[in-house]
């Protein structure tokens, strides 16, 4: 690995000032499971690596029924699936964080890092989009928020500008009749990159019909997608296999997958239909329980 300096500031404002000064030559370090590999393999370079794990608001999380989940950008994956309440409230996030890498990776990798790394196949991003999460950003001109569905701008690229960092992710509070799920297809059981990943969220009305649904697709475009039309199509419908399959057909229409060693574009489009149906089914079951 090429030489760099290491800094571990204790406040967001210090980080903003360091990364404003160094621009692209400064790299943030949260769990390190992407950036350390990228620095070692020469995919990215840095003069200074800024460890953000000494900052309380970046490393902590809290949930309230009023404000929902505020998830610090550097909170490691395991917190989400080991936490009894959060894993129940945010099923899609528990599903995805439990299959990002293996156990060792989940001890360090963060949802915030997964988002900033902006891989089209990132497992946690479709979950965040389905849950209608918002990125909370700090920068030299103050703070701003961006919907997670608008955060990624291309493979490995995001909306963060010079001097900005992701501080936390805000996920709306969940009610008793909402549920969510994430599923990906990979040729083995674990430790692989999604051929297709789908996150779904539903909220049911008292009469058992769908009040609102959100579907998000991963690995079928340059960025994870919000399947707006497919989601809206479910409003007022019964959570039936037929309606979920129809939503899957609509979701397929926005998928523009590539063909590569993991699968052809045709195969990926087919998987979108299958996984939309499956994740909606699980999300609805979780909403009913």
């Amino acid at each position: 690995m090429k030489e760099f300096d290491y800094l571990a500031p204790e406040s967001v404002s210090e980080v903003v000032s360091v990364i404003s000064e160094h621009g692209d030559r400064a790299k943030l370090l949260a769990g390190g499971t992407d950036i350390i590999v990228q620095l070692r393999e020469g995919l990215r370079e840095a003069d200074v690596v800024v460890d953000i794990k000494k900052i309380d608001e970046v490393t902590s999380f809290k949930y309230s029924e009023e404000h929902g989940l505020s998830l610090g950008a550097a909170v490691a994956c395991y917190h989400l699936y080991e936490h009894p309440k959060l894993s129940q409230l945010y099923g899609a996030l528990a599903d995805s964080t439990h299959i990002i890498g293996g156990w060792q990776i989940q001890s360090r990798a963060s949802v915030g890092g997964n988002l900033c790394n902006a891989s089209p196949a990132a497992d946690s991003i479709p979950s965040l989009i389905a849950l209608n999460a918002t990125a909370v950003i700090a920068g030299p001109n103050g703070g701003r928020t961006v919907a997670v569905q608008d955060f990624c701008t291309g493979p490995g690229r995001n909306v963060l500008e010079n001097g900005e960092l992701l501080v936390s992710i805000q996920v709306p509070a969940q009610c008793n009749n909402s549920g969510s799920a994430y599923e990906r297809f990979i040729p083995r059981n674990e430790m692989d990159i999604a051929v297709v990943g789908v996150g779904s969220w539903v909220r049911l009305s008292e009469d058992g019909t769908i009040a609102e649904a959100r579907i998000s697709l991963g690995a079928v475009a340059a960025t994870p997608l919000f399947a707006e039309e497919a989601s809206a199509s479910l409003t007022g419908k019964h959570p039936s296999e037929e309606n979920f399959a129809a939503a899957g057909e609509l979701a397929k229409q926005i998928a523009t997958p590539i063909s590569d060693m993991r699968g052809t574009d045709e195969y990926r489009a087919h998987l979108v239909g299958v996984l939309v149906k499956r994740t909606l089914t699980t999300a609805a079951e979780r909403a009913q329980n």
């Binding site: 590999v37 690596v49 460890d51 490691a76 890498g101 060792q104 990776i105 001890s107 674990e190």
Partner: protein
């Protein structure tokens, strides 16, 4: 860019207060092996896929190739060298030996650390849980079956000792 200054880090490794100097670019794995002579942890892929460098960092298994030495200030680290109690092997080590759960042995230290961590959590872990939790450890020799059986046997030993 001038040569980076070395960082002074104070930590606890296998229960002993330890301090070291390292360059910011040095991984915890490099520090353990090259600075501290703890060569039990192995470098396999050096990119977080194989788990041969697994150590416990503040009670969680991590790939030490994906941790910077500079990051572990104040942390508690346990390596494979700390698993045995003086000359007595830990049940996980005994069962890997008795069950011949290794061939070349490069992956073994990582498997021992991860296996002990999962059995500390649940000595009765099912085969499915064992295979899932050990998916971050790769072995190119055994085909895994002997490893899984050794972990199950170790779990039984640990459960009866308690």
């Amino acid at each position: 860019m001038p040569a980076s200054k070395k960082v002074h880090v104070t930590t606890t490794i296998n229960g002993e207060d330890t301090d070291f100097l390292c360059e910011p670019r040095h991984s915890l794995l490099e520090v353990l092996r090259d600075n501290l002579g703890l060569t039990g942890s192995k470098e396999g892929c050096n990119n977080g896929n194989c788990g041969a460098c697994t150590v416990m960092l503040n009670g969680r298994p991590v790939d030490s190739c994906l941790v910077l030495g500079a990051e572990v200030e104040g942390a508690e680290i346990e390596t494979v060298e700390g698993i045995a109690c003086s000359s007595n092997l830990h049940p996980v080590q005994e069962c890997f030996l008795e069950g011949a759960a290794l061939q070349c042995g490069i992956c073994t230290p990582g498997f021992l650390v991860a296996s002990k961590a999962l059995l500390d959590k649940d000595p009765h872990a099912s085969e499915e849980t064992i295979r899932f939790d050990l998916s971050g450890n790769l072995c190119r020799c055994t085909g895994y079956d002997k490893i899984v059986r050794a972990v199950q046997a170790a779990g039984q030993k640990m459960a009866t000792k308690v």
